[in-house]
């Protein structure tokens, strides 16, 4: 089979050539792997920061960190987790899976895809390089003006943050555009929009949110950097500027952003639950419609982060209303997931456990949402650990758990080997227990009046016990992460060979070998049904699986035909352009000449890129 030879040739190449092949790769699967590994590293970094935070808060009057360091840590923890873990890890799944799930050979713009990854890496490195200079950002992940002004935060810390985020924004928008066009245009024949897997839909909606939400933060950050670098007055109170402008622009981006973060989780759960319930997703169209509704509504609720700023009763009431409305489409999704399980044949494999864990914790995190949206309650909850509890439930519970489930689910497809179920169960139960023990008590200390972002607190506030418990449990999460890493590594070497379709799953990626050949599909499949692979296996019939299942020989017959498919050439220009952009951004902190140099570099590289022979069939149109 074609794949076997592919793997062998890959093993024969020298180390240098192997690295070069990763640097120049424009294969969506490899880019997906790059995204995954990078975001996993940042998860370690962000988690490590969280552990330091928890060490400091374990006891009152903690002495482990000084306040400035503490402030840098929560800022970088929040920023890294949101922009360098959650988004890119979702992007890893998008990259690997979207072309496979829609029956395409690659994304619409493979080189642009590589560019997105390298730019993401450039922005992340730029921001984290601040640690080397002892100037880590310390304005909080939402960097409220006017604390971030040159007057109140001199030095370069905020510039590392602002410029880094600008670069990351370019990466996200480029990637999102790519996925939108891939999904619109590269679907296999017969794959109508309403036959796409739910995961593809969630990617689609997420990408839309990205392209329409990111410009707002881009503008906010441009204002910030102009204020800091060139002395403009956007957030300058003495000149009539208004710090509220930042808050509005940030949250106009920021709230859609939280759905950008969680929709991929929804998508993953919507693939895992049907597979292991052996039933199609319940209420497919409602699922799709609800996601679209969430996305739309998501643009109308931003000011629920600003109830305490004194916007006025009418504005508060309006935003409370629009916010609570989101519970309805989210509820639809929730009930549909439960109904998917209901009446199925539930196999409690590790991916399924994570998906169920996701449902549970997202439900808890979601339910505190409308409580926060109730303005009078938010006057208390705002900026306390209650909010910290809310968002870790939706982020850790809603996103990280789902992503973990996704890793277990698709690992066989990516590597060709199964992950250990036994270690996986340890991983799940440790992580699930300790994440609840970490984040649930946060609601209690919040109600007991503990504000967030405090690096120290006095004894006698009644917070000691819970904080200790939270800190210990955070280390429990760390333990579970180590178990996970162990599983990743061990299974890579020793996992059972997976075969094409180890889970008896439903979507297209399971019809091809694991790992998939470079060109994905020997022949682009023709789609006649939602859950095509399931349909091919079982028709829409009932009865015993063994009876219905077509013999493996049938499947082999198709795979045996040799097909040479022309794939686009590798290219290093995407990397060169990204480097130029990063240099330009960094240059703004060093010297304007460096920035100009970076811009020229970028422009030159863009020319080189666009003149490079476009042998990419898909880019030819």
């Amino acid at each position: 089979m074609a794949t076997v030879t592919g793997v062998q040739t890959r093993e024969r190449v020298s180390a240098g050539a192997a690295i070069w092949s990763w640097v120049t790769t424009i294969d969506h699967k490899r880019i997906g792997v790059l995204y995954f590994v990078t975001s996993l590293i940042y998860f370690m970094v962000g988690g490590f920061e969280a552990l330091l935070i928890r060490l400091q808060l374990a006891t009152p009057d903690g002495q482990i960190l000084d306040t400035d360091t503490y402030n840098q840590l929560f800022t970088m923890h929040g920023t890294a987790m949101v922009f360098m873990v959650a988004m890119p890890m979702a992007a890893a799944f998008f990259n690997f899976l979207i072309p496979l799930m829609i029956g395409a050979r690659d994304v619409a713009f493979p080189r642009l895809n590589a560019f997105s990854y390298w730019t993401f890496l450039g922005g992340s490195l730029l921001m984290h390089s601040s640690f080397l200079f002892g100037q880590a950002p310390d304005g909080g992940w939402f960097g409220y003006a006017n604390l971030t002004s040159k007057e109140y935060t001199p030095g370069l810390s905020i510039d590392f943050w602002g410029l880094g985020l600008l670069v990351l924004g370019v990466a996200s928008v480029a990637a999102a555009l790519n996925f939108i066009i891939t999904i619109i245009n590269l679907r296999a024949p017969g794959m109508t929009l309403m036959r796409m897997p739910v995961f593809v839909w969630m990617t689609f909606v997420t990408s839309f949110l990205i392209i329409f939400a990111f410009p707002a933060i881009t503008v906010a950050l441009i204002f910030l950097e102009f204020d800091r670098l060139f002395g403009t007055n956007f957030y300058e109170v003495a000149e009539g500027g208004d710090p509220m402008l930042w808050q509005h622009l940030f949250w106009v981006f920021g709230h859609p952003e939280v759905y950008i973060l969680v929709l991929p989780g929804f998508g993953i759960a919507s693939e895992i639950l049907p597979t292991f319930s052996r039933k199609p997703i319940f209420g497919y169209s409602a699922m799709v419609f609800a996601a679209v509704a969430i996305a739309f509504l998501g643009f109308s609720v931003w000011a629920h982060h600003m109830f305490t700023t004194g916007m006025g009763t009418i504005a508060d009431a309006a935003f409370a209303g629009s916010t609570m409305l989101i519970a309805i489409p989210t509820g639809i999704k929730m009930f549909n997931w439960v109904a998917t399980c209901f009446g199925g044949r539930i196999r409690l494999t590790v991916p399924m456990l994570f998906a169920l864990g996701f449902l549970t914790t997202f439900l808890i995190g979601g339910l505190t949402g409308p409580m926060l949206a109730a303005v009078p309650l938010d006057l208390h909850f705002q900026d306390t650990y209650f909010v910290v509890g809310h968002f870790h439930y939706v982020l850790f519970g809603g996103l990280i758990l789902a992503l973990m489930g996704g890793v277990y689910y698709w690992y066989p497809k990516i590597t060709g080997r199964m992950m250990s179920e036994k270690i996986g169960k340890w991983h799940f139960w440790l992580m699930f227990t300790f994440m609840n023990l970490t984040f649930f008590p946060m609601h209690f200390v919040g109600v007991d009046g503990m504000p967030r972002r405090v690096g120290t607190y006095a004894a006698g506030m009644g917070w000691d016990f819970w904080n200790m418990l939270i800190s210990i449990s955070a280390f429990g999460i760390a333990l579970s992460v180590l178990v996970f890493l162990h599983n990743l590594v061990v299974s890579y070497k020793k996992g059972k060979p997976a075969g094409n379709d180890p889970w008896d799953a439903r979507t297209l990626e399971w019809a091809i070998p694991s790992p998939p050949p470079e060109h994905n599909f020997d022949e682009i499949p023709h789609i006649t049904h939602r859950d095509q692979v399931w349909y091919d296996k079982y028709g829409d019939g009932h009865g015993s699986a063994a009876e219905l299942r077509k013999t493996d020989a049938d499947a082999d017959e198709q795979a045996d035909e040799e097909h040479d498919v022309h794939m686009p050439n590798p290219s290093y220009w995407p990397l060169v352009v990204s480097a130029g952009l990063t240099i330009a951004a960094a240059g703004l902190m060093i010297h304007i000449a460096v920035a100009v140099f970076g811009v020229l570099w970028t422009v030159g590289a863009v020319y080189a890129w666009s003149l490079e022979p476009a042998s990419t069939p898909s880019e030819e149109h």
Binding site: V252, A303, G312
Partner: protein, 101 residues
């Protein structure tokens, strides 16, 4: 989607039409600028200017950018962004208005 983007040639406006639209655009611009020299009550002026600008906008988008003849998908992308932004603009003007009022 039946209308193929590549053969919209026939449907495309001819050079003559492009020029006619340019003339209309010019006239609209002259009208706009004229408001600057003529005394018009404020309450009337703003809607008037907005309508004139809106007409120019629509002409360019519909004919020069071919949205009138092209796929609805393109209009979808564009007007989705445009609509969100108009709504945001109104909302923010109101929110800031309430604050300083």
């Amino acid at each position: 989607m039946s209308t193929d983007a590549t053969h919209s040639d026939e449907a495309h406006s001819t050079t003559g039409q492009y020029v006619r639209i340019a003339i209309i655009l010019t006239i609209l611009t002259i009208l706009e600028v004229a408001t600057y020299y003529v005394d018009i009550p404020y309450a009337l002026l703003i809607p008037l200017l907005l309508v004139l600008a809106g007409m120019k906008f629509a002409l360019v988008v519909a004919y020069y950018m071919h949205l009138r003849y092209d796929s609805k998908l393109f209009s979808g992308f564009f007007f989705f962004g445009f609509t969100i932004e108009i709504l945001l603009l109104i909302a923010l003007m109101v929110l800031f208005g309430i604050r300083s009022g």
